[in-house]
Amino acid sequence: MANSGIIKLTNFSFSYDGKNKILKNITLKINKGERILVLGPSGCGKSTLTLCLNGIIPQLIKGKVEGTILVKGMSAADTPISSLSQHIGIVFQDPESQFCMLTVKDEIAFGLENLMIARKNMEEKIKSSLEKVDLLPYYEWMLNRLSGGMKQRVSLASLLAMDQEILIFDEPTSNLDPKGTREVSEIITKLPKDKTLIIIEHKLDEFIDIFDRILLIDNRGRVVAFDYTKEFFLNYQQQIKKMGVWLPQISKYIYKLYKSGIKLDNFPLNKEEAKKAFEKNTNIRQQSFAVLKQEISKDICRPAGSYKGSCNPDQCIVKVENLCHKFRQSNKYALENINFTVNKGDFLGIVGNNGSGKTTLAKLIISLYPTKLPSKITIYNPNSSKYREAKKDEILELIGFVFQNPEHQFVEDSVYKEIAYGLKVKGCDALSISKKTDEMLKIMGLEKLKDTNPFNLSQGQKRKLSVASILVMDHEIVILDEPTFGLDYITTTNLMNLLVRLNKKGTTVIIITHDMNIIFKYTRNLLVLKNGNLAFSGSTRKFLNEKEIIKSSDLGVPLLYELYSEVSSYAIL
C-alpha cells in the first residue's frame, strides 16, 4: 500500500449538472502521513474535492462523477459514507454548524456511539482526545459557551477520538480571530505524524510550517501544480498571485530578493529560516535589508505623508464619552468607560478579539442600541450650514453600515434593485437613482449580474453587493464590519482601494477587522478593544511600538515587520 498512496485520484471530474465541471481531470496521489495544503481561488472546488473524498459527493449531494477516487483502496463513489468516514474526518469552516449535541463530552461521544464503542471505554477516549487539544478542563461545558477557536478544537478532538487516519480541515480558521487562529494552527502542528492531513486554508503565515506538499487548483477546477512546499513557492509565485490567492508574506519577500538576484539557498518560508539566512549570508545582508525596508514601508509603516485623505484634525465627527453598555441578559459590561473622538476624513480601524465589543461599539455609534447617561455619543453633521450636532433622525443618513453577514441586509430580489433601494427610500429622483446605481454596478464589476437574485450570488459577490448598496448612498461616515472576510487577494485589494478613494474624497471610513495586515496597510488611526475596554487609541504607526498592548490583547503585527525588527540589528553591523 505504501507505494500506491492512501488517496489516489485518477482522471477525476465532477459536475453538479453534468455540464459545468467543478473539478476537471484530476490525477494525483497522496501518501500516508503526508500533510497537504490545497490552494486555489474561491469557488475553485476545493471544498467540493474534500467532500468527494469521503463520498458525501456524490452519495448525499448528487452530481455527475467521472474517473475514480480510491481511499485506502476503496472507491469513494461506491463505498458507503459510513465506511469511508471511519477513515476520513473533516473539520468544517463554520464552528456553529458542525455539532449536533449540546455539551463538549456528548459531542465527542457522538462519533464513538456511531462506531458502537462500548460505554465503559468512552470516557477514557473522550478525555484523552480532549487532552490532545488542551481542552480537558472543559469536559462538562456547554458548546455555546466556548470561543470559536475552542469549538474548532472540540471538533478536532471528536475526530481524534474516532481515530481516523486522514483528517481534512476545510478553512478551519476563517471564522476565527487571531488568537483562535494561533490556537488551532498550534494544535494541528502537534498532531501525530502518522495522520494524513489535507488542509484548505487562506491564512498561510500561521500554517506554512505544517505542509509537505501544496496542491494548486485554478478557477476551472484543474490541477495547476502539486509540488513540495519550497519548490512550489519558488516556481509558481506568479501564477498564485494572478489567481488572487493569498501568499505567505515571507515567501513574497524572499521571492522578490530572488528576482533581484539574491538567491538564498533553501528558500526560507518562515521567520526563523529567514533570520538564519540573514545570519549566514553576511555579504548580501545590506542589500536584503534594503529590500525588506522597502516592502515594510509600502505595506506596514507607511510614512506619515502618504495618507492623502483630507483628515481634518479640527473637525470632530464622532465623539464618544464615558460609554458603558450592558446587555439585558448579562451582568457583565460589554463595553466599559470608552472615550474617543473621530475626525472628519479619518480612516479608522477597530480591532480586538471576538467578544471584545467591536460590533457592539459600532452598533451604538449608529444608535441601534440606546445609550444611557453619562454615556454619550455625539455625531456631528458637517454638511449643514452651521457645523452642529446631528439630530437622532439624521444619524442614519450620515452613517452607512455594512453588516458582517451580507445576507442580513438584502431587502430586494435583484442586484440592481438592491443597490437602488437606499436611494429610493431617501426619495431621490429616478434619473439620479439609475445613474448612481449603474455607476456603482460598474465599480464593483456586478453589471452582468444586475438581474440576479442577491441570494444566488457567490459569497464574494454577496459581499461586494452589500458594500455597494451602502456606498452608493454617499454617507458622510461608512462603518464596515469585517468587509474582507472570506475574500481573495484581488477582491480584497479592489475593495480596500475603493475605500481609499472614498476616503480621499473626504468620507470618514471606520473598519472593523481581524486582519492586522489590512490595519497596518490602510488605516490611519486605530482603536484596540480588549474585553470591553479601550486598550489603545491613537495612530496606527504608533501602535507598532506598543509591544505590551500587542501581546496582552492577543493581536499580532505582520510577520514581515517582526522579521524587520528582529534582523535590524544585523543590518547595522
Partner: protein
C-alpha cells in the same frame, strides 16, 4: 420567547427517567381533564408546585417567573369562561351579578375556575417536566425507552440548538433593515408582515446550516451501523420505579378522598 427553560440541578426529579416522567404526567393530566370541579385541578396544581420546589429544588420564584407572561391569558380565559357559561344548565341558580344578557352565578364562577385551574395545572406539570429534564437526556430516553428513530431524535436535538441561533439572526436582519432605511413599525400586524419579509433570508440561513450539520453528522459515521451505543446511561432505575409507585399511589389517594367527600365531579355534568 423562553417561557420554560431547563434548570441544571441535582435533584430527585432531575434524576427520574424522562420517558417515565413524561408518561406519568400525560396520564395524570389526561385524567384531570375529566374532572369538572375547580378543587381537583387546584389540589393537583399545589401538588405540582410542591414537587417542583421540594423534589426539583427549583425556587417558587422561578416558577412564577415562568408562568407570569402567561398569567394574562390564563386570567382572560377564566373570565371568558365565567361570562360564557350557560346558566340554564344549572339546577339551582344563585345569581350574583346580572347585567344585560350576562348573568354571573355561583355555577358560572365555579365553571370559570375549573377551566382556569385546569390550564394552570397543565402549565405547572409542563414546567415540572421542562425545568427538570435535560434536553439531551430527554431525546436519548425517547430513543432508548420509547424506540424513537435515532435519525429523528438527533435531528430534533440539532433543531433545539438552532433556536437561539435563529433568534440572533432575526435580530441581525431587523437591525440591518433598519439601517438600510426600512421603516419598521411596531404592533402585531407589522410584526407578522415583517416575519414574512424576513422569512427568505432566515430560511436561506437555516437551510444552509441544516445541510452543513447533515454533512458533518454523516462524516462522523452517523448511522454507520443499524445499532449504536450510548455514552449517557438512560436506563430505568430503582428510583424511577419508586417514584412511579409513590406518585401513582399519592394520586389515587387524593382522587379517592375527593370522591369520598363528594368533591370530584366526573364528566360534563351540571356543576353542583
Amino acid at each position: 420567547m423562553q417561557f420554560f427553560e431547563y434548570f441544571e440541578r441535582d435533584s430527585v426529579l432531575h434524576r427520574i427517567n424522562p420517558s417515565i416522567k413524561l408518561i406519568l404526567i400525560i396520564i395524570l393530566v389526561f385524567t384531570i381533564t375529566f374532572a369538572y370541579d375547580p378543587y381537583t385541578p387546584f389540589i393537583f396544581s399545589i401538588l405540582a408546585i410542591i414537587q417542583i420546589t421540594l423534589l426539583g429544588k427549583i425556587p417558587v420564584k422561578q416558577i412564577f417567573k415562568m408562568i407570569l407572561p402567561l398569567s394574562f391569558i390564563l386570567a382572560g380565559i377564566t373570565v371568558t369562561s365565567i361570562i360564557s357559561y350557560n346558566t340554564a344548565l344549572e339546577e339551582v341558580s344563585n345569581i350574583i351579578l346580572s347585567w344585560k344578557t350576562i348573568q354571573i352565578t355561583t355555577g358560572s364562577i365555579k365553571f370559570g375556575l375549573t377551566i382556569g385551574f385546569r390550564i394552570s395545572c397543565f402549565l405547572l406539570y409542563s414546567i415540572l417536566f421542562v425545568a427538570t429534564t435535560d434536553p439531551t437526556d430527554f431525546i436519548l430516553s425517547l430513543i432508548v425507552q420509547l424506540r424513537l428513530n435515532p435519525k429523528i431524535g438527533y435531528s430534533t436535538l440539532v433543531g433545539y440548538r438552532f433556536i437561539p441561533l435563529l433568534s440572533t439572526e432575526y435580530q441581525n436582519i431587523y437591525d440591518a433593515h433598519k439601517i438600510r432605511g426600512a421603516k419598521e413599525k411596531s404592533g402585531v400586524i407589522a410584526k407578522i408582515k415583517r416575519f414574512k419579509k424576513y422569512a427568505v433570508p432566515l430560511m436561506v440561513i437555516a437551510a444552509r446550516k441544516a445541510q452543513r450539520v447533515a454533512i458533518a453528522m454523516s462524516s462522523k459515521c452517523f448511522c454507520a451501523y443499524p445499532k449504536r451505543t450510548y455514552f449517557r446511561d438512560v436506563r430505568v432505575r430503582k428510583i424511577d420505579i419508586m417514584y412511579t409507585i409513590l406518585f401513582t399511589a399519592l394520586s389515587i389517594i387524593i382522587f379517592a378522598l375527593l370522591i369520598k367527600f363528594n368533591i370530584l365531579n366526573w364528566g360534563y355534568r351540571s356543576l353542583r
